[in-house]
Symmetry: C2
Subunit: 156 residues, 2 copies
């Protein structure tokens, strides 16, 4: 059994339960991202913020090679992210999340409210990480929308 | 000028800037909600939680008449929520939000973490209201998706 998840992640996982590879790859239209690509995007965004916030650096070539398609989505995502099972995506999400939780476990609440510039604007760690989970919720809304329009009858 | 908005609402408003009545009414397919209906849904959810959490009661007939279509969406939403300008929706959102902010202004942080049953499960005010804004972010993701697929060229 996977461990219990915090709320946003729990709802994401619920939104994709039981999807086949074909369904995870399905493109609603020529501009659409697949549900699989959106799942990997969630992990890529989280990796990106780990590198920026915990490691204080830019992604290196290896990381870009692994994550850029999922981060950028679009044509690159449609071409490169295909053929993976739901477990593949859920495992990626869990592996990435494990580091975030480990890092959070070493911080205190003062760290959350420390001022930290983000995209050239004043911010703090709380808001930066809120944004990561906000992005997940935003895409979960799209995943639900896409799932309801899958061509097969096993949507729910 | 409208007042400055907290982050989730700010991003919602950004997602709909400049939309015409026709665009707000547009239905992507027979099961789709219009962007206008999704905006009114955000206000309806917030009203619903105001009534439950601040007033400790169920919605009355007048409130149900005004808000049920927006709360439930689906066929009822598609039939009843049409022909309104963007300002109509933004004003509704702002009017509803004004009460939430006023009520929040009269609470302290202890109130946030007070235990409160919600849908038969243990919860607290913080989580209940987080859920309201989480729902907004979820639908903002759908609004962005729908906007990119409007039939006219003024999507952005």
């Amino acid at each position: 059994m996977r461990r219990k998840h915090p709320h946003a992640r729990y709802t994401t996982i619920n939104a994709v339960q039981g999807l086949s590879i074909e369904e995870l790859d399905y493109l609603q239209d020529s501009q659409s991202n697949s549900i699989g690509a959106l799942l990997l995007h969630l992990a890529a965004v989280e990796i990106g913020f780990q590198i920026e916030i915990f490691d204080n650096r830019q992604p290196n070539d290896k990381e870009l090679k692994e994550w850029l398609a999922a981060y950028e989505l679009g044509d690159k995502g449609r071409n490169e992210i295909r053929g993976n099972s739901l477990d593949y995506y859920l495992n990626k999400l869990e592996q990435v999340r494990a580091r975030t939780l480990k890092e959070f476990g070493q911080k205190n609440d003062t760290w959350l409210y420390e001022e930290r510039e983000w995209s050239g604007l004043p911010s703090n760690h709380y808001f930066i990480w809120f944004h990561v989970f906000e992005d997940e919720i935003n895409h979960r809304g799209q995943i639900r929308w896409l799932r309801q329009r899958l061509p097969k009858p096993n949507t729910k």
